[in-house]
């Protein structure tokens, strides 16, 4: 559908006009970040109020953009006096400035939420969202996206913006993205500009790297499975806080709970993000035992068993279904882990040292 260009000078007016037309969710600077004093700048995808707040030079965001279609809390149904209905809190929006690794992650959740049983609480909001990707101007501290999913190119987004010198090259992939052209002073991009944009995207590399192929990692992890002791070592200082899951763009596990409103006759059935690293994730109640005490069974009772599960899910279990690994190498899990043990690069290197032949 074509490549267009807009000058840096005209770019803010384009963004302000987008904001005027629709809600725009885009990367912005978040001020205080007490939990990680070593890094001064943290970014977040949030509602953009003015063009000057847009930070396309962000390294990565604290939470991934999945929250637009799969929010941390989402009401599924509401009920009152025996009556009930589905709740869809939908809004048209432009999700602007998504990095390629997150585009790949969105492609995965798009598939997973539609596979077999379509979940309209995700897909309906997804359809109302126009996604415009952007090139990575600087890579995040723990990122290793250059080592992941080398053979897959993101394809579910609508458009892509690349900054070259003092110009933005806008690639239009769908009608939705084409519709935005009228809000800015775009001209056709030249072949030379297009080539520069391609080069700019190829140039950017992640800070961290894995030295093994997807197949090697899969085989190594599978071999390490029986070595629970190794996994317990790796997860020894885990707090079971689940931050490595909540910050992950490809984690999509959830819990569902009912809550009453204060009137005690109405309420809501809500889903919440859940984390396989938390202690009760795979725990069931078995009822009272022989002496009457409540019995439970936990199918992944230790931090090691749960860390192994998280890594298997990212690098092994879903590979056939997705045709690629379920980790995009954003490095957010590593950044969010207070115990500093969640980095897949470190985990995989340790495992491979022992199990790569």
């Amino acid at each position: 559908m074509g490549f267009y260009c807009i000058s840096s000078k005209n770019f803010p007016a384009f963004i302000d006009e987008l904001i005027h037309q629709q809600s725009v969710i885009a990367p912005q600077l978040v001020q205080s970040k007490p939990y990680n004093p070593s890094s001064s700048e943290f970014f977040s995808f949030s509602l953009l109020k003015k063009a000057s707040n847009l930070r396309l030079d962000y390294d990565t965001t604290i939470l991934p953009p999945k929250k637009v279609f799969f929010p941390p809390q989402q009401v599924l149904l509401s009920f009152k006096n025996g009556e009930f209905q589905a709740v869809l809190d939908l809004y048209e929006t432009i999700l602007f400035g998504v990095h390629p690794y997150d585009l790949l992650a969105i492609e995965q959740t798009d598939f997973l939420f539609s596979d077999k049983y379509e979940d309209i609480h995700y897909t309906a909001q997804r359809q109302l969202t126009t996604i415009i990707g952007s090139n990575i101007q600087r890579s995040a501290e723990h990122s290793f996206f250059s080592s992941m999913n080398a053979n897959v190119k993101p394809s579910t987004h609508d458009g892509f913006i690349t900054k070259i010198a003092d110009t933005y090259i806008y690639e239009v992939l769908t009608g939705k993205a084409g519709n935005l052209l009228k809000y800015g002073q775009f001209t056709d991009a030249s072949q030379q500009q297009i080539d520069l944009a391609v080069k700019e995207n190829e140039r950017v590399k992640s800070k961290s790297h894995l030295n093994y192929s997807a197949d090697e990692i899969k085989q190594g992890l599978e071999k390490s499975y029986a070595d629970l002791e190794l996994w317990e070592q790796l997860a020894k200082s885990c707090y079971a806080c689940g931050s490595c899951n909540t910050s992950c763009p490809t984690c999509y596990c959830f819990n569902i709970e009912d809550k009453w409103h204060i009137d005690q006759i109405s309420g809501e059935r809500t889903r919440y993000w859940d984390s396989c690293m938390t202690e009760d994730f795979a725990k069931i109640s078995l009822g009272p035992g022989k002496s009457g005490e409540a019995q439970t069974e936990n199918f992944r009772p230790t931090t090691g068993a749960r860390m192994r599960h998280r890594l298997m899910r990212k690098m092994v279990y879903l590979n056939d279904k997705l045709g690629t690994q379920a980790c995009v190498g954003c490095g957010r899990c590593a950044t969010s882990c207070t115990a500093d043990i969640a980095d897949p690069v470190n985990i995989i290197n340790t495992v491979m040292e022992k199990y790569h032949d």
């Binding site: 869809l88 997973l112 309209i120 569902i256 409540a294």
Partner: protein, 273 residues
Amino acid sequence: MTKPSIFLPKQAQIINVRQNSESEKHFTLRFADGKKIHFEPGQILEVSLFGFGEIPIGIASSPTRQHSFDIVVRGIGRVSKAINKLNKGDSLYIRGPYGNGFKLDKIRNHPVLIVAGGLGVCPTRSLIQYILDRRSEFKHFTLFYGACHPSQQLFRDDLSDWRKNNDIELLEIVDRPDCDWQGYVGVITDLFDKTQVDKDTRVIVCGPPIMFKFVIQKLDQLGIAHENIFVDLERRMKCAIGKCGHCQINHKYVCTDGPVFSVKDLEDLPEAF
């Protein structure tokens, strides 16, 4: 709006309630819109009560009995205890059926043994009724039923029918007898010494997680192939549609790939037992 939400349940009326034992209630249900439910023995439902929550429950009646369907709920936590306070005329909210059933095509024309411990008799009652209703499709049919105590036996009316019925060989065992008890005393695996189990038998095992290992050991001694042993697994479940991740056993999902698995299928799933 495009499609309806997959989380939207259907209202079902409770048309009968029986107190099965101290903590279990047996509900007979019918959809409020009069529609029938189509399912296979072994499939599960998501059963909910608004304001309390939703839980997975096996269907305890056979699809050959179409006028209504049954569930048995043990009151052990927030949702199940709230459900067990309901009475005839009240409503429950149902999604499903989900998952696979007891692989009828693999057990037809073979001898069948069901090993049911505790609450495990609930989902298997669906298959028991099915076999009794279509008796000629199956060969010799044996049921092992284990409970802690005679007072915890479920389906008392059914049991007294089954004891008299020549279409089913019923062996009952309890941990702790009372003075009226006439069955066996011990653990469920003791029943293997009380009868003959043909090598060609298709075996269905359903009960608390610790039971599986011991039963499978016995079946191994009898030389029954792992592809002919089927287990009904229990895991935490929140969606029953393969998304929420709670029921995962390695790369499989109990809600969509199970809850019934052959022991052969579980051989490359170390998390299963």
